[in-house]
Symmetry: C2
Subunit: 390 residues, 2 copies
Amino acid sequence: MPASESAAAQFAKGLEGVVAGETSICSIEQGGLYYRGYEIHDLAASATFEDVAYLLLVGQKPSAGELSAFKQELVAERAIPDAVISFLRSVGPALKAGTAVPMDVLRTGVSILGHLDKDCQDNSPRANQAKARRLLAKVPTILGHMQSVIDGRDLVEPGTGGDPRLDHAGNLLYLMTGKKPNAQYARCIDVSLILYAEHEFNASTFTSRVIAGTLADMHGAVCGGISALKGPLHGGANEAAMEMLKEIRVATDAGKDTVESWMQRAFETRRKLMGFGHRVYKNGDHRAPILNRLGRDIAKAQGPDSLRWFQIGDEVEKIMLRDKKIHPNVDFPCGMTYYVMGIPVPQYTPIFVASRVSGWCAHVIEQHANNRLIRPLSIYTGSPPRKWNA
Amino acid sequence: MPASESAAAQFAKGLEGVVAGETSICSIEQGGLYYRGYEIHDLAASATFEDVAYLLLVGQKPSAGELSAFKQELVAERAIPDAVISFLRSVGPALKAGTAVPMDVLRTGVSILGHLDKDCQDNSPRANQAKARRLLAKVPTILGHMQSVIDGRDLVEPGTGGDPRLDHAGNLLYLMTGKKPNAQYARCIDVSLILYAEHEFNASTFTSRVIAGTLADMHGAVCGGISALKGPLHGGANEAAMEMLKEIRVATDAGKDTVESWMQRAFETRRKLMGFGHRVYKNGDHRAPILNRLGRDIAKAQGPDSLRWFQIGDEVEKIMLRDKKIHPNVDFPCGMTYYVMGIPVPQYTPIFVASRVSGWCAHVIEQHANNRLIRPLSIYTGSPPRKWNA
């Protein structure tokens, strides 16, 4: 057997099925998703995002006193530095031109936060915990201010970065819309943040761990996480799924297509359909039905026009399962849910960041606490040895 | 055997020895380092950095005409947008306060370049090649302008970003110092850029590939690469090694210590000594002696004070090999070499970026051309299942 053939047998493309390390933060089983031992349906029903962020960062459910102190810390850290506000004001033309997208602007905003964080170059557990809280508090403010710039609205109380009486999810909605949030919408966002907070060695978290494994700092690791989450094969799928549904609805409303005919054509042209399938889940993503139900409740209350998104979604899901045996992942109902709440599509993945930053930071803390450089090998498939001046 | 024990046996911490994919860009053998089949001593002796960057990005050695066109493209792309210049001017206080370091500022600069790049959201081979050239051309300008801000000097011709008659390495030195570069120094920088350009699945390149594997864009992948390269267990080692040598020299010049006594104390206190050892090379890093010789030649010409750094370095290397059986890696001579040329220490790793961006971009192009999401698994070591309201 030639060397290349034997070598080719030794690796799994995309590290599929390969264990890259240990974690005490999260476990994904075919039977359930657990954050530090708590099952995701239990958390979605009984906890808030602040509970979950504390749980992920500290390792234990907070007591009432710990939760109250944690929430106060977050509120106190919501304001963002003037340098980030100036940057957000300056990026409007690039956002309008479409060269800049919110995920990239968020990455730059977090990168600038690093320059101004007094603990930026300190990887100690104390500094990492403090930086994690600051990042968690400030990301929603960056999103909100960015949306205000896009909408040409005044920034919402840039001094304090939101209404201190509002919890994390409500504050995020308030900052993004400039309006006091509806309680049902705020709880729906809260649950979506719980569902998105953590997911073991997914591509963005793994990116953050590879960065932290060089003993680089938390802000750098989070910038890398944001870069990876943007991709449509990862967090970007919630935006891509909604864009697909909009396309289907235009075609079906015009009577040009049925969902069935649109889907069959997509299969024939080998179009990649976003929001379906998952590297780890084989029988469906535990998070998807939770968000589907919450979003559907909102759509029902709004009326038939909103509900139509979920009806199209149901048909798409049925056909995917029937013809491809593939289940929706959490990004599929997320797209519809955020859409009926009126959130602009390019902010779906940034909202995912506002949640997942808790998981990334927990993994950076875990990586730094018991570090080993993450440095795999590759198989060489290129030119044999040759001479420059041959 | 309990499940956790059996699972623990199945993974290599830090993915040590694990093959994560295929590449035709680079191979590291115990007997030699090859970029697309050309051995590193051959490249260091016969090629320029522009030759090597073209080789990495395109896959073949350029013809005379191709090289000339490539160099013209780079010169034409050296200028950076006003938004990046404004950002660099604004970051002076944070650089002086030490919360911002040049590697982080460079990451933000590249992130802003993404917002303004017309091809940012396009992952096609054409767009990726164009973006790679722009990144390659603009990173030295960001470094140079940043150093001018730090030094309180006028920016060097911000309109064109350097002297168009100067090659990549000479231009980098010119932008950073404001002075016409000495030819020997420029060639030494050129060779260091060749040595640093590419190194298979190192931590920063692997970070770039994980990001690109979600189908995120090249600027995001390079931001992640910069974040990872910063760590002292990776590119940051050239700065850390020089800081260590400065500490040894202060102690030995004061007669307080010999190199031997300083080293023995470092061993006793389990201090991690930077610039030594390598995950892949077992018998020494092929790049280290090349740079050691070039730097030593410059030091010799300067006189005994400069040469003393290399004499201390020789002693440190000898003791490390004798007592720990560990060889220096390329970052060890790099520190001394850049130091005798008068380059500020916090710019050593950013200069590494000015070179490695060629390798990162080549890997992003390769990843996008034959993509599979990079998503490993982890072993769960945390709490058993528990109830939120128990």
